[in-house]
Amino acid sequence: MTDALPQRALGTALLVVALLACWQALFIYAGASALTSPLDTIAYAAQLLGTASFYPHLIETAKAFTIALGFALAFGFLIGFTLGLHRFSGEVGEPVLVALYSIPKITLYPIVLLAFGIGMPAKVAFGAIHGVVPIAIITLAAVRNLNPVYLKAARVLRLKPWQITASVLLPAAVPEIFTGVRVGFSLTLIGTLLGEMFASQRGLGFLLIQAIGLHNIRLIMALTLILVVIAVAASTILLAVDHRLRRAY
């Protein structure tokens, strides 16, 4: 581990350099009318992060995303545990979940808008719709693959269903469930941003769709960069936690 870490850091650094080089090459090829150079984009992103009017949008997105993730986790766990514990419901429900996972949920946005109107509830609903299904599928698989002895032991001890969930299932399935949380995190973020693009007057997604409308390439590039950095940073942290959990168990 101690030897592998600097080497891996070197690999990641090389990767970042290679991506920046590709970007610069694309910039030279496509020209300033199509995209901005890496240096210019980073400078503009830094400038954007320095302006006070940017933060209400960032906070709005963070708020919508947090609430959406809360709903996605709550419903995902509820569905996953219920279907995972009750074998027959699981057999009925799992193909439905898999089918829901693979349909383009973005086509449902008009329905979400008609149901929730424009604003925070629609964004949250859109984010949660994207996150809930993978969380439910992975939780379902995690609960079903548990060693049945645990459940038998819990039944022998006459634990109540919520006790079984809290003190047996949850601790035993934590590493797998966390993988679900990680996947759900990414998809909820994408869903929330999409929701903002269509159904909002505030937030990063709104800024992005507005920049598209105004053909403001600098803003599009800087926003894309900020979003990618946030998403990659968050997912790297979650991945590290994921690995640690797996090793600990």
Binding site: Q7, R8, G11, T12, L14, L15, A30, S33, A34, L35, F88, E91, V92, P95, V96, V98, A99, Y101, S102, I103, P104, K105, I106, T107, L108, Y109, P110, I111, L113, L114, A115, V183, F185, S186, L187, L189, I190, L193, L194, M197, F198, L208, I209, A211, I212, H215, I217, I220, M221, L223, T224, L227, V228, A231, V232, A234, S235, T236, L239
Partner: protein, 248 residues
């Protein structure tokens, strides 16, 4: 009752419930039209013929994105697998990839490639590509050493080894990637069409929505869900068949 029958009964129940809720005015007709009318409108739309170019365009784009993602993904996956340092450098990118909102690149693609089919196909391709690469790598990791030794004993070159031994062994894992690529191609293409485009099913849904044209919007949404759902189900059954043959 078998799980399949219960599912069918549940689906019918939900449709009947929605029908009743709209007919008795619990749900506003402005928000939802009854399922029977959606079906009727869908029939009229398909017979009318004006929608077929949009359907053809979307399905062509989805197919292009999917095939490109699978071919490029398997080739790249095989190459990356052979060169270990490269793979270790790319692993964090793959792990973080699906956290990146790919649609954020769409405006960029429009600026670079214009508002034709290319940006939409590219979004579908980008969404599917990494799923194929990751699953190809996963499959190649599981090839037993003895098979690779056999290839060496027969003095097979790297291309022949991949084509005749390692890739066929990894096929079930690659198939998981293919299924994801199919789903992601639909999601990517139709999503991109909704955000900004001139034709296609996504565009038509967005157009109908902006005009409060529920008699077009709902049938098209149902059409997209049914088409995407049946294509996915087809691949699911094909996979089952392949796996069954393998086990024999």
């Amino acid at each position: 009752m078998s799980p399949g029958r219960v599912r069918l009964a549940l689906a019918i129940g939900i449709v009947v419930l929605l029908e009743a809720l709209v007919r008795f005015g619990v749900i506003d007709r402005f928000a939802l039209i009854p399922p029977s009318e959606i079906l009727w409108d869908l029939g009229a739309l398909l017979l009318g013929g004006a929608i077929w170019p949009a359907i053809g365009k979307t399905l062509t784009d989805v197919a292009l994105a999917c095939v490109a993602a699978v071919v490029v993904g398997v080739v790249l996956g095989t190459l990356i697998h052979r060169w270990r340092p490269f793979r270790e450098a790319l692993d964090p990118l793959f792990a973080a990839y699906y956290a990146i909102p790919v649609y954020a690149f769409y405006p960029l693609f429009i600026v670079i490639f214009g508002l034709g089919d290319v940006p939409q196909v590219l979004i579908g391709f980008m969404l599917g590509l990494v799923a194929v690469i990751v699953n190809t790598l996963n499959g190649l990791d599981r090839v037993p050493r003895v098979l690779i030794k056999t290839a060496r004993a027969f003095r097979l070159g790297p291309v022949a080894t991949a084509a005749e031994i390692t890739l066929p062994y990894a096929a079930p894992y690659i198939f998981t990637g293919v299924k994801l690529a199919v789903a992601y191609s639909f999601i990517g293409v139709i999503g991109a069409e909704l955000i900004m485009s001139r034709t296609g099913l996504g565009y038509e849904i967005g157009f109908a929505y902006n005009n409060f044209d529920n008699a077009v919007m709902y049938p098209l949404i149902v059409l997209v869900l049914v088409v995407a759902g049946s294509v996915n189900a087809m691949f699911f059954m094909w996979e089952k068949k392949l796996l069954a043959r393998r086990r024999r």
